[in-house]
């Protein structure tokens, strides 16, 4: 086997029947004819699983979205009627607005918060931060029914934690707040609970990625007299560009699909104050027996998610993101 003389030196190298080609950036890359089958084989398992278990249901969903059916009986083809109905339905539009709000605020609040915590935990290594690292994900480990139950304990009027605390402290105004019953407040109460529950994953994910930055770089920065902020903004954050994009995608798609917490806590109420697309989907599919309409909502959620993901990753590329 021909060996290279120096790592990275642009010499001609023999490599199993391949040859040097220049790629679009003018760098020399080795093209290898055995790449194709390798790529195919590696992608095959994932595709197999998805093809068998998800693609049929997804295709069915798209198909049923064009019909009017109860899920049990005959189906009548109605074309795009369901979609038209959806966009004139107040509950759906409110749900759409809510999930967009949810996605927006999740990204704005959760990502910086997660970064700050993750960074602080990896930057300051003392006796406390060690065990602290395990704690932040704990809230995420719970099944959503239990998270919702905890939310009920905290927010319940008169018997909830906040009310009881307000009573003991004598703060009547605090006890009078109707966390889940006030149409203007309910959304934020549920959102606060969700932030508590879901920020854990971004934190440990970012921690793991920050740890991938070699120690030498950090030590070099220290020697150069970089403060924590400097180090964070000049070195760490640019390196985390792609992880941030991923988290933004996960937050957004998660918000679009959101169902459990608002449904268990308030069933979308009061009125439509906390309704989401997921709740509307469940309502139409499982309660109203309007299965075609529910499928249409599912399609809308999927397309919105897809659109957002593509937009997110293309944006990154346009800015010349090397990490893409």
């Amino acid at each position: 086997m021909a060996r290279c003389l120096e790592k990275g030196a642009g010499h001609i190298i023999l490599f199993r029947g391949g040859r040097y080609v220049s790629d679009s950036k003018g760098r020399k890359r080795i093209r290898d004819r055995r790449r194709g089958p390798f790529v195919f084989l590696c992608l095959l398992p994932a595709f197999l699983f998805l093809a068998i278990f998800l693609y049929y249901p997804i295709e069915e969903t798209f198909r049923i979205a064009m019909t009017k059916s109860t899920g049990m009986g005959p189906e009548t083809y109605v074309g795009f009627d369901n979609y038209v109905k959806l966009f004139s339905n107040e509950e759906f539009l409110t749900g759409l607005l809510h999930v967009f709000q949810w996605a927006f605020w999740s990204v704005i609040i959760q990502l910086p918060l997660a970064f700050l915590i993750a960074f602080a935990l990896t930057y300051y290594r003392n006796k406390l931060t060690g065990p602290l690292r395990s704690i932040y994900y704990l809230s995420n480990v719970l099944p959503s029914a239990i998270t919702a139950m905890i939310g009920r304990f905290i927010y319940a009027p008169k018997s909830g934690v906040i009310s009881s605390l307000a009573n003991t402290l004598g703060w009547k105004w605090l006890g009078a707040i109707d966390w889940l019953g006030d149409p203007n407040l309910a959304f934020w109460s549920v959102f606060a609970l969700a932030t508590w529950a879901y920020t854990g994953f971004p934190i440990i994910y970012l921690m793991a990625r920050i740890e991938q930055i070699p120690n030498e770089i950090r030590e070099a920065a220290e020697l150069d007299g970089a403060t924590g902020w400097h180090y964070a903004s000049r070195i760490v954050i640019p390196d985390l560009k792609y992880p941030f994009q991923i988290l933004a995608v996960l937050c957004t798609v998660g918000s679009l699909k959101l169902f459990d917490l608002p449904y268990i806590l308030t069933t979308g109420g009061p009125g439509n104050a906390t309704v989401t697309l997921g709740i509307t989907l469940y309502r139409h599919g499982f309660i109203n027996w309007n299965y075609g309409l529910a499928a249409a909502i599912g399609v809308v959620i999927s397309l919105l998610s897809l659109g957002f993901t593509i937009a997110q990753f293309s944006l990154g590329r346009e800015k010349g993101g090397e990490s893409l």
Binding site: A156, K158, L180, G181, G269
Partner: protein, 418 residues
């Protein structure tokens, strides 16, 4: 060689296996329900049913699966939608949900076998759809007024005999710092019972007419009832934060004497009578009629199946076992285990004084109206509860909300027929 003998062996095994199933004398009966047959007093009936049935019919293998109410309902829907893997018997509350399954051909028609089972007429009609009987309803619930008699006595109050009489009682209670009504409006459905009663008292059988499409949902009786409801909420009769209060919170208020009255179903009798749950003295009363200007009487009750079972088409080849199970569910020996529900089967005594009161009220009923959110087509039931919840907001235009609901009904159930 090895392959061939393996092949032969497996054929033999297959043959033996199928032969043995032909000669099997154990019929397997699958029942899906919400209640788990464990030691809790709530589930005493389910436990007695399973144990008693297995003791009485040892040749039938009973597989009773309790999944909790929400899980059970979701799983049943998914299974019904696919048409396969259905249980032989499942828990049902009758009405339009069961009717939907019947219309889709998923249920087993047992009119012949079950028509002579002794039970109340209301219970039987709950599990009947379009003239055919599909199951049994051993327990029937009616909504009534639960009153904390201790609080009333201490404050010199009497249970209101008229709807108008509530106002004075509630004002007194409010002045004493006691929440007059506990409701649970956060969960939407608990607010329905009171609204059904108010509409009936104003308009008599207006709801029956409306669902038969002879009357609109924004007609006089419905609007007047909604306005009264809203008036009571504004007056603080449901507490300062009615929409933040879930059904569980409402019960807790009653258990601890922080609220004095609750309009809800008789399934709560067991809890209100249990010393584990409450130390208050609570009684069950019929909801009164209007003093003047009303049509409905105190003997017009709202109620529906408390526990019921229906059979799916999978049980067609085990009809005998299915019928045995359903009849056993309706037997006095099984029903006697339940701590507090009103039993539709004659000869079962009430377990506690509150249930006795409730049974008496039920016994004196002239008409029984099924819960609207179980009786109307599924496509309008959650909008109905949403509409009623809006009455709890002070600036709702109730007529407008009801008109919106009417429009939805027109779309789903057809327009008004003259």
């Amino acid at each position: 060689m090895k392959k061939r003998s393996l092949f032969v062996l497996s054929i033999l095994a297959l043959g033996l296996f199928s032969a043995s199933s032909l000669f099997a004398d154990k019929v397997k009966l699958t029942v899906w329900a919400g209640d788990i047959p464990d030691d809790s007093p709530d589930h005493a009936y389910a436990k007695a049913l399973v144990a008693g049935f297995q003791a009485k019919y040892p040749d039938i293998q009973l597989d009773y699966v309790g999944l909790g109410n929400d899980g059970f309902k979701d799983k049943l829907k998914v299974t019904m939608a696919s048409g396969s893997g259905l249980p032989d018997v499942f828990q049902t509350w009758g009405g339009s949900v069961m009717g939907g399954y019947a219309d889709a051909g998923m249920l087993l028609d047992l009119t012949k076998e079950l028509k002579d089972v002794p039970g109340s007429a209301a219970a039987a009609s709950a599990v009947t759809w379009k003239g055919k009987i599909y199951g049994v309803a051993p327990f029937f619930a009616v909504a009534g007024l639960f009153v904390n008699e201790g609080i009333f006595q201490a404050n010199g109050l009497k249970v209101p005999a008229t709807v108008e009489g509530f106002e004075k009682v509630c004002d007194t209670l409010k002045a004493k710092g006691i929440q007059p009504f506990a409701c649970g409006a956060k969960d939407k459905w608990p607010a329905l019972a009171l609204y059904m009663y108010m509409t009936n008292r104003y308009g008599g059988d207006s709801s029956a007419k409306a669902s038969a499409r002879k009357l609109a949902y924004d007609s006089v009786a419905f609007v007047k009832a909604a306005q009264l409801y809203q008036k009571w909420v504004k007056a603080g009769y449901f507490g300062a934060t009615p929409l933040g209060e879930g059904y569980g919170d409402a019960q807790q208020l009653m258990f601890t004497g922080k609220a004095a009255m609750m309009v809800t179903g008789s399934w709560m009798c067991a809890n209100f009578a249990s010393a584990d749950m409450t130390d208050q003295k609570i009684g069950f009363y019929a909801f009164p009629a209007l003093a003047k200007g009303g049509v409905g009487k105190a003997t017009d009750l709202m109620g529906m199946t408390d526990i019921g079972y229906a059979a799916s088409k999978t049980g067609a080849d085990k009809k005998d076992a299915v019928v045995k199970f359903l009849k056993y569910a309706m037997s006095p020996e099984a029903c006697a285990a339940d701590p507090g529900r009103i039993c539709s089967v004659p000869g079962v005594k009430a377990k506690n004084s509150i249930t006795a009161q409730a049974s008496a009220v039920f016994g004196g009923a002239k008409t029984v109206t099924f819960w609207w959110d179980q009786d109307l087509p599924p496509s309008v039931t959650s909008p109905l509860n949403d509409t009623i919840q809006t009455f709890f907001l002070p600036d709702t235009d109730v007529k407008k909300e009801l008109s919106k609901f009417e429009a939805l009904c027109v779309e789903n159930m057809g327009g008004i027929k003259k």
